[in-house]
Point group: C2
Chain length 216, copies 2
DNA sequence: GCATGAAGCGGACTCTAGTCCGAATCTCGC
DNA sequence: GCGAGATTCGGACTAGAGTCCGCTTCATGC
């Protein structure tokens, strides 16, 4: 396991540091060739994934399409999951912004319960829209899910809202809610059980509220 | 993906068919050599896993230790996860029996909420006791978790209890609760966050009850 | 400019899961 | 018993993820 996963790469999130853990791994000095290759790889991966599906693309394919060696790929992104994380970065960041400074009920201003329900629906739809990538990012390595910066953000947000709602053991319940929003689980509901996304979102939002209610 | 995963192998669960989906794939005719090899493989796997840990054992190792070809291994168990499922079979079956015909609050007789809490704790401790095997069985293949017979049992049981408690969307919430009991999640709580098993059990049982409460 | 050391590069290599198919073995009807 | 046909066996083979390390390229101080 490399220590440099997603090195300098998400270089646009510095506001909001005080409140929530948004990562901006030091935007130290990225060498020109490194930057060029990073962009090439990301573009190549996006192209290939779109064309052949995430499962139909090997790391060799990505390296070849990007005109880069495999070593470069791995030095940069750690593993296949790291590549997925990098590709998801923009979308996740956008949702993070809506949470931090967007309009209620997702953004600040609404009651914690309402915000939690809104978050549940918004996050579910992000996952559903990028199912394969999220799945890859969560399962490439055991426990990968818990190690991404994005996860830390979602968890922290849920904990905050649950605490605000007076929920006992907010930490645990935040994890429980997020466990239900795993790509694997969402895929199961959507594909295997053929549930309707909107209905699922409503059901999960209701469940989140049940979880949030303070002890009687 | 083979179609014969875990063929004739869990040949001891026929009672309780009416109430819950316990699988006993036809105990048709297992050839003598096949039976001998199945036992050898299971014994070899148990030995190796105990000695070197699940992660430190390859399928080649198991085949060699069992004195059997790799083809045999795969024909029999489908993949590494199938082997784990077979190894877990006995333990899971025992819990299933306690649920079906054991003493309350786990067994019949107690109120649905109490049974749900008891199930949560009992299942959590089963998972914790066999973390590596359960992890393997759940993650060897995407969606593997949802395909095992054992999972169908746990889910059905939770659905039944939640319905009995008057919970809206019992199906969805059963899945949500079980999502919090995946090996990945449990491992995270136990190993990464170093939570205490007993406290975790209590917290999850409480969360299960919150999930179970009927809409106000 | 240019020397120099650090960072980045890339492709050959390893390791393991999973597949395939000819050969061996078993079961059943006679 | 015994032959026929299906089932099982087993090890060589494939594919793809991830590692390694000598070579190249860059950025900085002079």
């Amino acid at each position: 396991m490399p220590e440099d996963v997603n090195g300098p790469q998400s270089g646009s999130s510095t506001e909001c540091r005080a409140e929530l853990p948004v990562l901006d791994r030091g935007v130290v000095h990225e060498r020109a060739d490194a930057a060029r290759n990073r962009l090439r790889v990301l573009a190549a991966a996006e192209r290939l994934f779109a064309a052949r599906g995430v499962a139909g693309v090997t790391m060799d394919d990505v390296a070849a399409e990007a005109g880069v060696g495999k070593g470069t790929l791995y030095r940069r992104f750690g593993d296949k999951g790291g590549l997925a994380v990098a590709l998801l970065d923009a979308r996740e960041h956008e949702l993070q912004q809506r949470i931090i400074s967007g309009a209620p009920p997702l953004g600040p201003g609404a009651a914690p319960g309402a915000r939690l329900a809104a978050f549940t629906e918004a996050y579910l739809s992000l996952v559903a829209a990028q199912l394969d990538l999220v799945l890859l990012s969560e399962t490439s390595t055991p426990g990968a899910r818990f190690r991404t910066g994005a996860f830390a953000f979602w968890r922290q947000h849920c904990r905050y809202l649950l605490s605000g709602a007076g929920t006992p053991q907010a930490d645990l319940r935040a994890d429980l809610l997020l466990a239900g929003l795993t790509a694997e689980q969402v895929r199961h509901w959507l594909d295997d059980e053929r549930r309707d996304l909107a209905t699922l979102a409503a059901g999960l939002a209701a469940a989140a509220l049940a979880l949030a209610r303070p002890a009687r």
